[in-house]
Symmetry: C2
Subunit: 397 residues, 2 copies
Amino acid sequence: MSADVALVNATVATMEGHGYGLLEGASIGILDGIIDSVGPGRPQAADIVDLGGRLVTPGLIDAHTHLVFGGNRAREFELRLGGATYAELNESGGGIRSTVRATRAASTDDLVGDATRRLGWLVGNGATTVEVKTGYGLDVATELRMLEAIDRLRGGPADIHATLLAAHTVPHEYADDRAGYVQLVVEELIPSSVGLAQSVDVFVETIGFTAQEADQVLAAGVAAGLRASVHADQLTLGDGCHLAARYGARSADHLEHADAAAVEVLASSGTVPVLIPGASSFLDEPARPPVDLLRDHGLQIAVATDLNPGTSPTASLPLAMHLSCVRFGLTPLEALHGTTTAAAAALGLSDRGRVHEGQRADLAVWDVTHPSELSYWVGAPLCTTTFVAGAMTKELA
Amino acid sequence: MSADVALVNATVATMEGHGYGLLEGASIGILDGIIDSVGPGRPQAADIVDLGGRLVTPGLIDAHTHLVFGGNRAREFELRLGGATYAELNESGGGIRSTVRATRAASTDDLVGDATRRLGWLVGNGATTVEVKTGYGLDVATELRMLEAIDRLRGGPADIHATLLAAHTVPHEYADDRAGYVQLVVEELIPSSVGLAQSVDVFVETIGFTAQEADQVLAAGVAAGLRASVHADQLTLGDGCHLAARYGARSADHLEHADAAAVEVLASSGTVPVLIPGASSFLDEPARPPVDLLRDHGLQIAVATDLNPGTSPTASLPLAMHLSCVRFGLTPLEALHGTTTAAAAALGLSDRGRVHEGQRADLAVWDVTHPSELSYWVGAPLCTTTFVAGAMTKELA
């Protein structure tokens, strides 16, 4: 059978098994957007692309982003570093509230435009699948507009996974009625998001939602057919991992303060830990996730950018991979699994993350000679192109 | 008088004074590679470039790089994170010795080719002046070939400042004759580098050179007409800053372990501290340079990438600026002075670093609305083009 496209003369990191699964001088045949063949042969194809020995990896998967938001918080970053206290920042309208205000004020077109630009940054650095959360609307109209904005990113240069994170923080107007906000999420937002969102997420944290509140949200989300995901143990040890396990969550994210019991329940439930080194770096956070425990339990470990305006304005998965190595001690091999095989698992997707016959033809091409370089160079433009379901996002130079 | 080029409709961060020196809706006239006018008027010019409100800053200046080297150390990075001990890495030929071996083995053409690629990374992220050190040859032939390679980078997309760092480490073959190596540097390398190098540098450190050895090198270098620069107090507190002051060094670099006395001598000698957040991040180094002391003494603080294969494979000044904020507590304003006005001072250059009449027309154009964003976004491709002495390095989209 003849392929539509054949990539020839490639070094392929298939990510099969626990290593890189390296093949040198290999070809990849693509038919109908699916990988049709991988190996030493040279497939027949209408379109032959000679990669000149360049590295091909699975397209990278960003399993945790807040890509859609109004404004940015660069000025707040400047004020904070200039010595403004948290109270002063709050008074000047800073913090997540400022992003909620800017997001509510932005038109859906503007939300889509800004997110498209940032999606281009991620794709330019090798991403082909990007999870995107809501959570800066915190009212029915704006959360649904965020879901609409996320939906409008589909058909672009990356496959999109939408997550309802209405339980990101309790909005100002519900400060004295937390139960009322949880009720709004459970009774209005979750039902309205079915068909638009694939997952439901909760920020389980002292400054977010209690275990009891999160339990209500996750129960309603899972009952509505959404996959659960949890922001767990970022700032303090809480019940996030236990809740994730209870609801068979696809992922538990952050984990800087997770303990052995938390890791054990993740292992028992098959929930994938997603590490967020960008936020750790941005916050200069001394606590580190329990990577050795995660390894001891044989867990797949995903790595994501957490691209967001407040704690991780991180536009590159290779940079997140680098930071996961220097801050959390992952190896470059683990970091690349973290944005391919493990990230696919963190999104509950089995059709991508490896270069293998039958997988989606989501691929990234890199101007390096060995995949360890992806986590090594810092801020270098190494990705020369990506393929999403077999379609090239930019021409090879 | 009519300009050659006029950039119109720009937001300009002139970096005049202690602030950003922001001008909105401004124009910049360029004549014979020099800034001829800056302000609200619209100069007559043969070539008008409408920036559509984009931000213009002085072209960024990287005051500390090791851009020229053979090979890379990505595999060593992988081995180290996989748990290999320092002894095992050494046995497997790792560490700086591996870069020395690869640099000696590389042809000058290959050294130039690899460095040109990495220079493109820096320029793509806004750099227009780049300092480049030798120090991976450590014999007369290879140190001079490194200077030749650096010289061949001139006339490219950035202005180049060459620094002889023959005193980077004692080469293997002189392990039992340190004095012999210092003598080689003083009597052969320094005299041979006159006319090719602008500066002489020494790594003053327990694993580098003693104060006494460094004193000999700096004395010889300064006597030969080179400007002094010193790697000081990176891993331990030493005499680097005191030596820098004694020789009127243009810069003292790293300073993680500098104390109050070290800062005082820098202030008294007008030596510019150059901070290296990329190496701090790569090594996950808990010690931080004494930024408050530097501020208290009114010192200009420069920020550089230290682009090198062993401890800072950092390809972007905005990323170094970001890391200087989150790790060292600089403000985005200080970080931008760190790569413009202070970096120019660190290289002893008074003709660049500000957007001002009479300065070189070295400029960077950015797709942001406020200069604080340059230190805020992490790994985003914000630079749309640069001008070096008035010549555009890539067309504006």
